[in-house]
Assembly symmetry: C2
DNA sequence: AAGAATAACTTGAACAGTCAAGTGATTGGA
DNA sequence: TCCAATCACTTGACTGTTCAAGTTATTCTT
């Protein structure tokens, strides 16, 4: 008996679903990116980083945690922090209790930037997603997203 | 009366949905990218371009159409074509009927590359999405994707 | 039948993301 | 207790994407 499994291709229904979903992935990210860049001059990722900080106690989060919350690598965050620091929107400081850790803090100027950028962002999110869906579909989308993410995590878990 | 509309923020349910959906966007694209890069040494976008060509009559598509089918700008495609041409996976040729158009054709080597890359790609798609969802959810995801994309197109339409 | 406007690309500069290597700080064995 | 392994982060080189500008071809307009 052979150990080489033959590929189980997608069914017609699955392929149909996949094609539109992939398109959704690219279109959604591209719309978010364009809106943020055009209206606020920052990337959607940078907005996300500052938004996470704005919601945190003392507007402060350890970098490695912040990287997770922002759905990106630590390296990506490190580069982004350098850019945000140049605008004085964030500050880095070493953590007292553990010398390996660095804390990121959102400055007042950074908070102001988030506050002024949020309305345009929310408008885009609403007009892109929630204006297009029924409340039932929003709930389905949440469940579907969670199902995929949880299933992915259980596979990736070492 | 003021012309400044105050922002309609997201409800708790909407925000909950949005957070997981954004995470899904990034995780899904990142998994697709990693798999294709690791197993075949090409980007997910480049695979998509060649896959579209492989399904087309005469394995040939006009560049501007190919750019649309691949969910990217013409500029992005142009740069990608240069890379793919270096491997002799695709060929460019001027269109006889309209001098502005350029046709892209998948070579035999390109077809072989797609054929050898497809199984790993399909395995990733299946394990990421369809193994995590019920058939009902797959159908819902298709409908949701279409709803968002159609609603977006109707807005964007000039 | 020109000339203007549009369309289909190409190109190069600027910039963001990834990957691999490097630096300190801390933990965990032997 | 000390040395190795691990962790948290930084940095620089490389590569891909975007944006604006340029080129050539075609289609309108009058």
């Amino acid at each position: 008996m052979s150990t080489i499994k033959q590929t189980r291709w997608l069914t017609r229904d699955e392929k149909q679903c996949w094609v539109v979903f992939v398109q959704l992935l690219t279109v959604a990210l591209s719309r978010l990116e364009s809106q943020m860049q055009a209206d606020s001059g920052i990337s959607h990722y940078e907005y996300g980083v500052m938004a996470r900080l704005s919601e945190a106690p003392r507007r402060t989060v350890v970098l490695s945690q912040l990287a997770d919350m922002s759905n990106g690598s630590l390296s990506r965050l490190s580069h982004a922090m350098r850019r945000l620091e140049r605008h004085d929107w964030v500050r880095r400081s070493p953590c007292a209790s553990d010398g390996r850790l660095t804390e990121a803090t959102l400055t007042d100027a950074g908070m102001a930037k988030v506050t002024e950028s949020a309305p345009g962002h929310v408008r885009m999110v609403r007009s892109l997603v929630f204006d297009a869906l029924t409340p039932e579909q929003s709930a389905q989308l949440r469940d579907i997203s969670l199902a995929i993410l949880n299933h992915d995590r259980s596979k990736t878990a070492d």
